[in-house]
């Protein structure tokens, strides 16, 4: 069976791991109430989605 001949150096190992990254969450401001919200989601602040469409839970 094929088997590694040499142990990989710390450098090589760390170079490989340099690609393990977290990507940040894209937060946008609701065009209706200016609250922070996730894109393609209903706004948690005012319940608006896609402009004038009002969806669910009207917060007072």
């Amino acid at each position: 069976m094929a088997v590694p001949k040499r142990r990989k150096s710390k450098s090589k190992r760390d170079m490989r791991r340099s690609q393990w990254k977290l990507s940040s969450v894209n937060v946008i401001t609701c065009p209706n109430c200016m609250e922070p919200m996730l894109p393609h989601h209903i706004c948690p602040g005012c319940g608006y989605y896609k402009g004038r469409q009002i969806i669910e839970k009207e917060e007072e």
Partner: protein, 160 residues
């Protein structure tokens, strides 16, 4: 390869999965808007759209086909007498999914699935938009059009 492997398994056996979707679908028909996880909503959409398609034509064969998923006489009646006729002029896309956010506890993405009934106001607006679009296109030929909506949005952001 992912060829011909559509759909999810939901960590359930076949029977469990079908039972789950039956329950979800019957609740959707009953309340016309339900809240579940994104994945379940997406799976339910496949079934719900098929069932509504069948419900648009009222005959015994279709009632029997639908009854595989809707095991309730009243709900079948509702489906064929109320929901089906409402979609008489729509060819597909009978359900709509909105993403709500992450559920507390297990951080599962939650969404709302509902029947995409067309409201009168909306259709009117759409028609107005269409008319406006036609006008705009005509104008574009001769001169550049300024979009007032976009400008105001940007101004709002700057103010905040």
């Amino acid at each position: 390869m992912k060829h011909r492997k559509a759909g999810r398994k939901y960590s359930r056996t076949r029977e469990h999965r079908i039972a789950m979707f039956r329950n979800l679908l019957m609740n959707l028909i009953k309340y016309s808007r339900i809240r579940t996880t994104d994945a379940k909503a997406k799976g339910l959409k496949r079934i719900a759209d098929k069932v509504v398609s069948l419900a648009r034509t009222n005959n015994l064969a279709n009632i029997r086909k639908v009854s595989y998923f809707v095991n309730d006489k009243d709900l079948i009646k509702k489906l064929f007498s109320e929901i089906g006729p409402k979609f008489a002029n729509r060819s597909g896309g009978y359900t709509r999914i909105y993403k709500v956010g992450l559920r507390r506890g297990d951080s599962a993405p939650v969404s709302i699935i509902e029947f995409a009934y067309e409201e009168e106001k909306k259709t009117q607006k759409k028609q107005a938009k269409k008319a406006a679009g036609k006008v705009k296109k005509d104008v574009r030929k001769s001169e550049k059009t300024v979009q007032p909506d976009k400008v105001t949005d940007e101004e709002k952001k700057e103010n905040v």
